[in-house]
Structure formats: structure tokens, C-alpha cells
């Protein structure tokens, strides 16, 4: 089971950044300008969030003229989701163990 880099979880812990990422996933792609048009934050703020997501390997950008168009890179998000699911199944096993002992 792979583990995510710290910056993935840190990137996802901010609610606005999470919104930027999900919006990007819904739209397929976007620029700071198009994303800012759908969020209650400034274009400058969106640029900063995209930079954090980019560093965490969660999005990738391609420059087109004056704008950078971003898309979601699902690999690291999937890896993080699998890592968290693994930890959750450990808790399931522990709770099942407590249940078994309690019900004896």
C-alpha cells in the first residue's frame, strides 16, 4: 500500500482548495480566470491555490498564450484515497475486535 506525500493531505485540508480541485474535476479543465468566476474568491487567490495543488502533484498546467489551463491528475488523489481507506479498514478491524470481546 502506497502512502501519500504530506503535501497531498495538506493541500486537501483547505476547504477552498478542495473546492478548486472538485470544480476542476467537474469541468474537465479550467484556468484561474474561469475558476475564479465560479468561486467566491479572487483570481489571485485561485492562482495561489492552483500553485499548491500543482506542487502536490494533484493538477497539471499547460500554458496557452497568457493563461495556464489546468487539469486534474487523478493518480496521487487515488493513492491518498487508498491510503486513507487502508487506515479506515484497520479501525473496522479494531472495532470488530472490541465488539467481539464486549458481546462474549
Amino acid at each position: 500500500m502506497g502512502a501519500p506525500a504530506d503535501e497531498v493531505l495538506a493541500a486537501l485540508a483547505d476547504p477552498t482548495r478542495w473546492r478548486v480541485l472538485t470544480l476542476l474535476a467537474e469541468r474537465g479543465s479550467g484556468t484561474a480566470t474561469t475558476l475564479a468566476g465560479e468561486l467566491p474568491v479572487s483570481r489571485v487567490a485561485v492562482v495561489k491555490h492552483l500553485a499548491v495543488l500543482d506542487r502536490a502533484g494533484l493538477v497539471s498546467g499547460t500554458r496557452r498564450g497568457r493563461e495556464v489551463r489546468y487539469t486534474v491528475r487523478p493518480e496521487r488523489l487515488d493513492a491518498t484515497a487508498r491510503w486513507m481507506a487502508g487506515l479506515a479498514s484497520e479501525w473496522d478491524a479494531r472495532l470488530a475486535a472490541i465488539k467481539r470481546l464486549a458481546e462474549e
Partner: protein
């Protein structure tokens, strides 16, 4: 998806007093959680020490104790071999909540704070591997304990 926490729950056909004892008393914790004993200083700020014969020691720092309803502690599940005091940057918060439901108990656990962990990708991967191996050993211990108690 909530990126920073894990939430799990189960309903147990036993009263809250029984479930509370299983998750807070060293006698129980030390036999199914660790395999080489445990110490539980059951008070906010108290230590819960868990020992494994092959996987070292883990120290959890207890945060909240509300008998039969809430038990929480901070631990460093990715420090291996353990023994390290859980502090900001190496630990997550585990919260057990218990609620009576009919004659039984709803037990819920939330582990949070993963985004605050400061270990490297490689270190965490290695630790996680060690941690998983540790849990497998523990569950084996628990099964043995459960069948002995049941016998």
C-alpha cells in the same frame, strides 16, 4: 471525501459500561491491543503505554475522559519503533464516543489530523508497512485472547 479524518462506528450488544472498560482498562487494552502489557493512567494528560514484544512501545497521551461517553488520546501511529511522545507534527487524535442505544452501545471512532503529519513520503511508507504488520500480529493475539475468555 473528508481528506483529513477517518470516521468509523459500530453497534455493540453490550452496555456502555462494558465497552468503556474494554477501551480504557489496561487489563483489556494490554491483552488485545498490545501483546506485552499496557498501562493506562486514565485522566486528561495521562499516558497510555502499549507494549508489543516484537514491535516496541507506543505512548499515547490521553486528552479527554468522560466516563461511558468520551475517551480521546493523541498518538504517533507512524513512529516506528514507537516510544515517542506524541506531539504536533507526528501524531493524530483518536476520539471514541459511546452512546447507549437500547440495551446496547453505539461506538464511534474518529481519527483526525493526518494533514499535520510531518514525515517524509518514504518514511511514512516504511512506517505504515511496520504498522500494518503490527496490527496483523495484534489481531492474532486478540483472537487467541477472545477464544480463551470464551472457553
Amino acid at each position: 471525501m473528508t481528506a483529513d479524518q477517518i470516521e468509523r462506528e459500530t453497534v455493540i450488544a453490550a452496555p456502555v459500561e462494558r465497552v468503556w472498560a474494554l477501551i480504557t482498562e489496561a487489563e483489556h487494552v494490554g491483552r488485545w491491543f498490545g501483546d506485552a502489557g499496557a498501562e493506562v493512567d486514565l485522566r486528561p494528560g495521562g499516558a497510555m503505554t502499549l507494549r508489543w514484544s516484537e514491535h516496541g512501545t507506543s505512548i499515547a497521551r490521553i486528552e479527554q475522559v468522560e466516563p461511558h461517553s468520551l475517551f480521546s488520546y493523541r498518538w504517533a501511529p507512524f513512529e516506528d519503533p514507537g516510544g515517542e511522545e506524541p506531539v504536533e507534527g507526528n501524531s493524530t487524535l483518536v476520539e471514541f464516543t459511546l452512546a447507549a442505544e437500547g440495551d446496547g452501545t453505539r461506538l464511534r471512532v474518529v481519527e483526525s489530523g493526518f494533514a499535520g503529519l510531518h514525515c517524509s513520503h518514504e518514511q511514512r511508507a516504511a512506517n505504515l508497512e511496520g504498522n500494518t504488520a503490527g496490527w496483523k500480529a495484534e489481531l492474532g493475539e486478540l483472537e487467541a485472547y477472545a477464544s480463551k475468555v470464551a472457553a
